[in-house]
């Protein structure tokens, strides 16, 4: 595909043209933080964001998504995907999207995720500001981000847009793009490499060594009990994680009491009842009753269980869980470094 350049002065007009053509989502400021929201104007777009509160997964896998609706006449799929553009996704979130793409499409292809995904044009962008807990440079470093249609990098005087797919190529018609020069392409590459060197945290070992040692530590009850001692079982580390995709499914009635919907809601394996099963006559079995067991399950998923399937760890080093955990115990870089050092 191609590499093009657009001058800073022409960029707002490009975003405006996209907004006029259909829904565009991108990072916007939310008080002192950032969130992916639908853009009304190009000025709202904050490509200098560090990290968003929630990852972009919410566009493909909404916090509450109707799967089926029903009424007196019957039931039907609730899915109504619309074409949209998602602008300004950092590469670590693209890697996370690659993972959920694979997991929702393998074995049983879930159109409730995939339809939203396939109707979205993703424009990745370079990391201008590095968040305080990021360690994206040292986790799964050999895994390349795939699922984006174009990659936008801010350089002196403008942006380089490298297209990866036909969808990405189609974006060029919306702005005053011209072919990028060799020097501009080289500058963009250097900008992206430089961002990797600014991570405040890092994993001190490689993916395989980590996977082996973390897996081997499974039965070290004392280790997990200590690590999870301050856990509130709030599930925040699951909610904010771009690679977490567990859910609950529940039916609700509308006020008319005849129509309603079957909806999936984000869930998290750290919450107390996640693996609880009723066995009848008041008996139940919670297959991960202890906080330590739930904490361990999350870390096993991030560092070992899915590696073979994904070709790398199921953590992309965004640091959202580290920043979001009230007890500040969720940080995978710290936890893993601690286990590796033990």
């Amino acid at each position: 595909m191609t590499a093009s350049f657009i001058r800073s002065d022409d960029f707002a007009a490009f975003v405006t043209a996209l907004i006029e053509a259909g829904p565009v989502y991108g990072p916007v400021a939310k008080r002192s933080r950032f969130a992916f929201e639908r853009l009304e104007t190009p000025e709202e777009l904050r490509l200098d964001y560090d990290v968003t509160i929630l990852p972009p997964k919410k566009l493909f896998f909404p916090p509450a998504q109707d799967l089926v609706t029903f009424d007196g006449a019957g039931f039907r799929a609730a899915l109504e995907p619309t074409e949209k553009v998602l602008l300004g996704v950092h590469f670590y979130d693209v890697k996370a999207i690659d993972q959920t793409d694979l997991l929702f499409s393998e074995r049983n292809y879930d159109i409730n995720y995939m339809a939203h995904r396939e109707t979205t044009t993703i424009v990745a962008s370079n990391i201008q500001t590095v968040s305080k807990r990021a360690f994206f440079a040292s986790v799964g470093a050999d895994v390349e981000p795939q699922g984006h249609d174009a990659f936008l990098t801010a350089i002196n005087g403008g942006y380089v847009l490298e297209t990866r797919t036909e969808r990405g190529e189609a974006l060029l018609a919306f702005g005053a793009f011209q072919p990028a020069t060799e020097a501009q392409i080289a500058e963009a590459a250097a900008v992206n490499v430089a961002a990797l060197e600014r991570c405040p945290e890092e994993l001190e070992h490689g993916t395989e060594a980590i996977a082996d040692k973390v897996r081997a530590a499974f039965q070290d009850e004392e280790l997990w009990t200590t690590l999870a001692a301050d856990c509130f079982s709030c599930g925040t580390c699951n909610t904010v994680c771009p690679t977490c995709y567990c859910f609950d499914v529940q039916d609700t009635w509308n006020v008319d009491q005849t129509s309603g919907q079957r909806t999936r809601f984000w869930d998290g394996c750290l919450t107390e009842d996640f693996a609880k099963c009723s066995l009848g006559e008041g008996a139940c079995e919670n297959f991960r009753e202890e906080r330590a067991a739930r904490f361990r399950h999350r870390l096993m998923r991030k560092a070992t269980y899915l590696n073979e399937k994904l070709g790398g760890p199921a953590c992309v080093g965004c640091g959202r869980c580290s920043a979001g955990c009230t007890a500040d115990i969720a940080d995978p870089a710290r936890v893993i470094n601690q286990i590796m050092a033990s």
């Binding site: 997991l103 499409s105 995939m114 567990c246 079957r262 869930d267």
Partner: protein
């Protein structure tokens, strides 16, 4: 991006099909035995040991192992234990009313591993329901299997399921049936004791293929008995129960370490799960 097909070409995996209740019978004080028929006349095609998600709109879905064999055509059986919102609503329904099912889901019993061999089934409590799919299958295709031994343990006589079946199996000569209850009652004349008390009553060879389904604590004790007989663990199959939501390997609720009970199981060769710390 990473995908093999286009979403418009694929069925929504969360859309259920309507099934009509052909027969409903109170099996125990808390369990109802339903016989269902697909409303569109197209029977579901399944293997013994597979599961379905049973639902009622407005209440929700629950996973249930199919309790009848695909050799019994057109209808299939489910036993619903009334413990929650969905099961409570379903068990109030009767003949002619509709429920909804998704499935079959998961992997059932690998019949190729059982055919041509002696088979022992060890069922405890409600574990008799999913194994009944295999029991019926073996009885219907009896000459495909060698010896067939069945152990069934219930907590007390009044909690025994499928009492018509039990009455037949007690006198049948196509199955060697042994039963026990943890606690007897005045009318009970049979064995009293945990399931393992049945093992000394019958001679079993190390070539036997064994199937186990019961409450969580059950497996460890039964496997110990099978070890003593010398049955290799790759010839032992376990049917496991976990919390399930989606039934299609997505929602994460049913995970045992890195395995998904809903798609990798519910039936597993014991050798594949014995090393999983969260399995037993």
């Amino acid at each position: 991006m990473n995908h093999q097909c286009h979403w418009t070409d694929v069925e929504n995996i969360f859309l259920p099909r309507e099934a009509t209740i052909v027969c409903s019978e109170q099996a125990t004080p808390s369990e109802t035995h339903f016989t269902l028929k697909m409303a569109d006349g197209q029977p579901i095609e399944y293997e013994p040991g597979q599961i379905v998600e049973l639902s009622l709109f407005g209440y929700g879905e629950i996973p249930i192992g199919i309790a009848s064999s695909p050799t019994r055509k057109n209808t299939f059986d489910l036993v619903v234990r009334s413990v929650g919102r969905v099961s409570g609503a379903v068990t109030k329904l009767g003949k002619g009313e509709s429920v909804y099912v998704r499935g079959p889901l998961g992997h059932g019993f690998d019949l190729t591993k059982l055919r041509g061999h002696d088979v022992l089934i060890v069922a405890g409590g409600i574990g008799l329901c999913p194994t009944r799919s295999l029991i019926q299958y073996i009885l219907d295709r009896r000459d495909e299997f060698d010896r067939f031994v069945l152990f069934y343990g219930a907590r007390e006589p009044s909690l025994q399921l499928f009492t018509d079946d039990l009455a037949r199996w007690r006198t049948a000569n196509d199955v060697e049936y042994y039963e026990t209850v943890d606690r007897g009652d005045p009318s009970w004349t049979g064995n009293v004791g945990v399931i393992t008390t049945l093992f000394p009553q019958v001679e079993l060879g190390p070539e036997t293929r064994a199937v186990i389904c019961g409450p969580p604590i059950f497996y460890r004790f039964v496997v110990r008995e099978l070890d003593m007989i010398g049955i290799p663990r790759e010839n032992v199959f376990v049917d496991l129960e976990r919390r399930m939501k989606c039934g299609v390997g997505k929602c994460g609720h049913c995970q045992i370490n890195d395995k998904y009970v809903c798609v990798d199981g519910p039936v597993f060769p014991f050798a594949d799960v014995q090393g999983l710390e969260e399995a037993f």
